[in-house]
């Protein structure tokens, strides 16, 4: 199956709900090793995305991603704003000008977005950041694509890998972001950004499965 603008919009709608529902959880994770705002930031960001998409409905998939990027960059701030903003900016740039995108396009788009996060934040895998959910997810999705899996299977594999990656951050010591100030005391806590990234992939897998 392929993903059209309605599916993309559905994903963003679900994301808005997901971050609203998980606002407190994400904020609590950020209390332990950060500054207690990650859930608030994500919720504010995707509420702004929803408002922006409603106010100025974009004509094509690419411009949906551009609007999302702009809304996140303008309304989130903190670390999450530029990082997720860059993700969608690069995803837009990598998005073919088609009304429906295929599995290969979807993987390419995630790949570009995640590259953008790496460049913007200069973190690497193992630093205990959102990349620890995103990089394994990207790997899994690429493998799925190589193996000729369906988009649903690819996204499921991505979500599963992101989930494992998110859990793996518990044991890590943070080397980037606010949690790095705690040194060894950051060990034992799940990274909030890795958690929001897992939720992002999970929502894609859930909404684009049919």
């Amino acid at each position: 199956m392929a993903v059209g603008k309605p599916e993309v919009l559905k994903w963003l709608e679900v994301l808005q709900q997901v971050y609203a529902e998980n606002r407190q959880w994400l904020t609590e994770l950020d209390s332990a090793i950060g500054d207690a705002d990650h859930g608030i930031n994500m919720d504010r960001g995707f509420t702004a995305v929803k408002a922006e998409l409603a106010a100025h409905p974009p004509s094509e998939i690419r411009s949906v991603f551009q609007s999302v990027a702009t809304a996140l960059i303008r309304h989130v701030g903190g670390a999450a704003g530029p990082l997720y903003g860059t993700f969608f900016l690069r995803a837009a740039a990598a998005c073919p000008r088609k009304t429906e995108i295929e599995a290969a396009d979807v993987v390419a788009l995630f790949q570009a977005g995640i590259k953008g996060i790496e460049q913007r934040g200069k973190a690497v895998g193992g630093d205990k950041t959102m990349l620890d959910a995103l990089l394994p997810a990207l790997d899994a999705m690429r493998k799925g694509l190589e193996n000729g899996c369906s988009l649903a299977a690819i996204l499921d594999a991505g979500a599963v890998a992101a989930h494992a990656g998110m859990l793996a951050t518990v044991a890590m010591q943070a080397h980037k972001g606010r949690a790095s100030y705690m040194g060894a005391r950051s060990i034992g806590h799940q990274d909030p950004g890795a958690t929001s990234s897992y939720l992002l992939l999970k929502a894609a897998a859930d909404t684009w499965r049919s």
Binding site: D35, I40, A79, G177
Partner: protein
């Protein structure tokens, strides 16, 4: 959570509304995107000075907008750095044709948002330089952290660069001064209690009745070490020792010192700590040439304090004494 607020989400905006009403002679608050700017901006030919960061550190930064200090400040949500569009708009509003210095505290979010803003400004042909303040000795500066946080020295950098720009320093000279200030300043903080982010609704961390958090930042983020509460004399000695060893400061140095309250600590205790600090410094033949004692860079209602020392040369001391007229710092006018 008990706060003098209406709705948790509206705190930063309603705070700015009150600030604007109270200080209409000094500054104005622009909305959409949000920034606070000197009433007389842009000052033609003057190097512009812009800073910004999360809200919750008042009077920093918005309380330092005014003659002799910042031309504009960009407040984010509580403890969340501002967005690039705010910073870009503020930079455009203060550019008097001589370029603009961004004073950025070293946090991942601040760095990235200011970087994105700088790119936008450069596209519009505004010359922007950024100096990153990273004075917090509680954080090891290594490949394995995001680097030292920017804390108390930010106040000094904003005052001194603001004075320099007012005197007519060009962008390169103000930038060089800012780097010198950052290079010669060190800070450390501690907390007796947590603070509560309004939108989060509960304290970021909990401390036992006899505990304190050493090496705290300014965002309610936990510090480096949790330990039993010490008497003020020992506490001050320990913080001073860490700061002094780092630069290092030496006998014969002159310093500008700050004993800063985190928001919930009475002035009485801050002066008590200042007394301990000056006695220690005198014992080491370090002279306190100028000082601030009070709430200058806070963490909402957190109880605790931080100490900042800046090794000051003649230029810095003279710039310090220059007139300043902002809601948070005011003298000579």
């Amino acid at each position: 959570m008990k706060k003098l607020i209406n709705h948790p989400q509206n705190v930063p905006a309603e705070f700015l509304a009150g600030l604007a009403l109270a200080h209409a002679d000094i500054l104005k608050v622009c909305l959409d995107p949000v920034y606070v700017v000197r009433v007389d901006a842009p000052v033609p030919g003057k190097t512009g000075i812009v800073s910004g960061g999360g809200s919750g550190h008042e009077p920093m930064h918005v309380g330092y907008v005014g003659k002799g200090m910042l031309d504009a400040a960009c407040p984010g949500q509580v403890f969340t750095s501002p967005t690039p569009d705010q910073i870009e708009a503020a930079t455009r509003a203060v550019n008097g044709g001589a370029g603009v210095l961004h004073i950025v505290k070293n946090y991942t979010g601040d760095i990235m948002n200011f970087e994105m803003a700088a790119e936008l400004c450069q596209e519009r042909g505004i010359e922007v330089r950024a100096v990153v303040i990273n004075d917090d000795v509680a954080v090891e500066d290594s490949l394995y952290t995001a680097g030292r946080r920017g804390v108390g020295v930010t106040v000094f950098a904003e005052k001194l660069c603001g004075a320099a720009a007012q005197r007519g320093y060009d962008l390169a000279r103000v930038e060089a001064l800012c780097r010198k200030v950052n290079g010669n300043g060190r800070s450390m903080g501690m907390a007796l209690t947590s603070c509560t982010v309004p939108a989060a609704g509960k304290p970021t961390f909990e401390l036992g009745e006899d505990e304190m958090e050493m090496g705290i930042g300014i965002h309610g983020e936990p510090g480096r070490e949790r330990m039993p509460l010490l008497p003020a004399a020992e506490l001050t000695a320990r913080m001073a020792a860490t700061i002094l060893a780092d630069l290092p400061f030496r006998g014969g140095d002159e310093v500008i010192a700050m004993v800063n309250g985190m928001g919930g600590t009475p002035l009485m205790e801050l002066y008590l700590v200042y007394g301990e600090l000056e006695r220690i410094l005198r014992g080491l033949r370090i002279r306190v040439a100028r000082r601030l004692v009070g709430n200058y860079i806070t963490s909402l209602e957190m109880a605790g304090c931080s100490i900042t020392l800046l090794k000051a040369d003649d230029e810095m001391r003279a710039l310090w004494d220059d007139p300043v007229l902002t809601p948070g710092l005011q003298w000579g006018i």
